[in-house]
Structures are given as structure tokens and as C-alpha cells.
């Protein structure tokens, strides 16, 4: 008969639970099947407009430097090397693979058909009410490899 005990504090471990990607994919799949494609986009837009509101504000203050800093930070957390090129008026993100999709594939979790919207809808929503737009140029559903262009809206 086994007796075990463990005590941990938040400082004992890094915060990185990649299985959360699976729960998000399951949630997106559920929304699509029960409420339709539009519900997935409305939900992700609502999330992005709320949670990333500070980034949207920062885009209005610092321009695309704010988006660059955000992208560098989130992909660094996930351990993915990305490419960011551009000017003050345009920023092109190239992602060799989506860390979420890679984790889902590795664990044999289903990838929601609309998982691409975690990129397309989220970046577009962040750019709402700013001088910039986000455009998904390329997306590979198998790997999540993607290119996204953030650019100044035409007058």
C-alpha cells in the first residue's frame, strides 16, 4: 500500500501546460458543431478584443513595434523561432509551424477544423480600432505553418 505526499509552490515550476492547446481545440470544435462556424469567429473575436485590449491600445501608441514585441514573446514561450520582417507600416510574420498544432498532432489530439481562426480571427480582432490590419497570407492546416501580414490601413 503506497503513501505519497508532495508540496509545491508556484515558483517551483515554469508555467507551461501544453495540453491546454487540446482543450482549446476541443472547445473550438464543439462550438463549430453545435453553434456553427460564425460562433467560433464571434467567440475568438470576443476573447481577443477583451484579453488583448492592452495590446490593441499599445498598437495605437507604439504602432507595429507593439505587435512585434507581442509576437516575439508568445512564440518564445512556446519555443518557436519566427521571422519578423518589415517597416513601420508593415510587419510580416512567418511561423515555421504552429506549436499548438504540433503538440496536438504529437499527442494524437484532434485539431479543430477552424483552428486556423486562432490565428486569423485573433490577429484581426487585435487590430480593430487601430491604424493596422492583419491578413493571413498562408496557412498549412497540417502543421500550422503560416505567414501573416500586419499593415497600415489605406487612407
Amino acid at each position: 500500500m503506497t503513501r505519497l505526499s508532495i508540496q509545491r509552490t508556484a515558483a517551483d515550476n515554469p508555467y507551461l501546460h501544453k495540453d491546454f492547446h487540446g482543450a482549446l481545440s476541443t472547445g473550438i470544435d464543439y462550438l463549430q458543431r453545435i453553434y456553427g462556424d460564425d460562433a467560433v469567429r464571434r467567440y475568438l473575436r470576443q476573447f481577443a478584443r477583451t484579453f488583448y485590449a492592452p495590446l490593441t491600445r499599445d498598437l495605437n501608441v507604439r504602432g507595429l513595434a507593439a505587435m512585434r514585441a507581442h509576437l516575439e514573446a508568445i512564440y518564445a514561450v512556446e519555443g518557436v523561432e519566427i521571422s519578423l520582417t518589415g517597416t513601420e507600416d508593415e510587419l510580416v510574420l512567418a511561423v515555421p509551424y504552429c506549436p499548438a498544432v504540433r503538440h496536438l498532432r504529437a499527442k494524437h489530439y484532434p485539431v479543430a477544423a477552424l483552428f486556423v481562426e486562432t490565428t486569423r480571427t485573433v490577429y484581426a480582432a487585435i487590430c480593430e480600432d487601430t491604424p493596422f490590419t492583419a491578413e493571413l497570407l498562408e496557412y498549412d492546416a497540417e502543421t500550422g505553418r503560416a505567414r501573416v501580414r500586419f499593415s497600415r490601413r489605406s487612407a
Binding site: 509545491r8 515554469p14 508555467y15 501546460h17 482549446l24 476541443t26 453545435i34 477583451t50
Partner: protein
């Protein structure tokens, strides 16, 4: 891309979205679905290893989530216990200035895990009375044989 470190606010906002779509029932339907379709690893561990399976499952998840917790298992007493001193998910929500946490956010831990463990013969108990402080306690017991 939504990094896994931003998942918890996305999760809470999903509950809020579903609540607006269909009220409490819509949220509960989703939790039931998630429990049935996304917790196979817990189901398998608890089925094959009993309370030690619970230990294995939560040892991985709580460490990866950088939780502040005490966890014990005593097979002879038939008890597995998590004392969550500071839940990493709820505490992040409470500290997030631009998110209003879904009011019943912590209840998902009751629904999801009870639905896996009780059909396997375990008794699942969760005390959410301190969830406003991001603290809770989970106790899983093997039911005594009759």
C-alpha cells in the same frame, strides 16, 4: 496563435460566450462534452491504477501549471487529496485586468472530474468555498465495499 499561457482567459471567455448563447445549460453541456472527450488520460490512469492513477495525472498537470499545492495519496486509507493553496488558473483570472472571470468558473473542476471518476467507482468531493481566494480542496476516495 493563442499560446498555452493565455489559455485560461480564453477558457473563461468561452464559458461566458456559451452562457450568453444558452445560459447555464449551455455551459454545462460543454463541460460534460469536454469531460467525455478530453479526459481519456485521467480515465485510463484511474481505471488501471486507481488512486495512484489520480496521483500521476495531477502530478503532471499541476506541476506544468505551476500550481501552489499539497497533494497526498494513501492507498490504505483509500484517499487521494489535493489542497490547492493558490490555483494557477483562478489566480490568473483574478489578476487579469481586462477579463471578468466567468462567475462559476471553478465549477468546471467539479463537473469534469466527477464525471470521469464517479462512474469508475470513486467518490469525488470538492470544496469550492474559498474559490474567490483561488483556493480549493479535492478529495477522491475509493468507496468501501458493501
Amino acid at each position: 496563435m493563442i499560446p498555452c499561457t493565455h489559455f485560461i482567459p480564453a477558457y473563461s471567455e468561452l464559458f461566458t460566450f456559451l452562457d450568453h448563447e444558452g445560459g447555464d445549460a449551455a455551459v454545462l453541456d460543454f463541460w460534460n462534452y469536454l469531460s467525455d472527450n478530453y479526459l481519456d488520460n485521467l480515465r485510463e490512469l484511474a481505471t488501471t491504477q486507481g488512486l495512484l492513477g489520480c496521483w500521476q495525472y495531477w502530478q503532471q498537470t499541476l506541476n506544468e501549471e505551476a500550481a501552489d499545492f499539497t497533494m497526498t495519496v494513501d492507498e490504505e486509507a483509500g484517499e487521494f487529496r489535493i489542497t490547492m493553496h493558490r490555483c494557477p488558473s483562478k489566480s490568473r483570472l483574478l489578476e487579469c485586468p481586462d477579463i471578468i472571470p466567468y462567475p462559476h468558473y471553478c465549477s468546471h473542476c467539479d463537473t469534469l472530474y466527477r464525471r470521469v471518476l464517479e462512474p469508475l467507482g470513486f467518490h469525488y468531493q470538492i470544496d469550492l468555498s474559498r474559490c474567490d481566494e483561488a483556493a480549493c480542496e479535492v478529495v477522491v476516495r475509493t468507496k468501501p465495499s458493501i
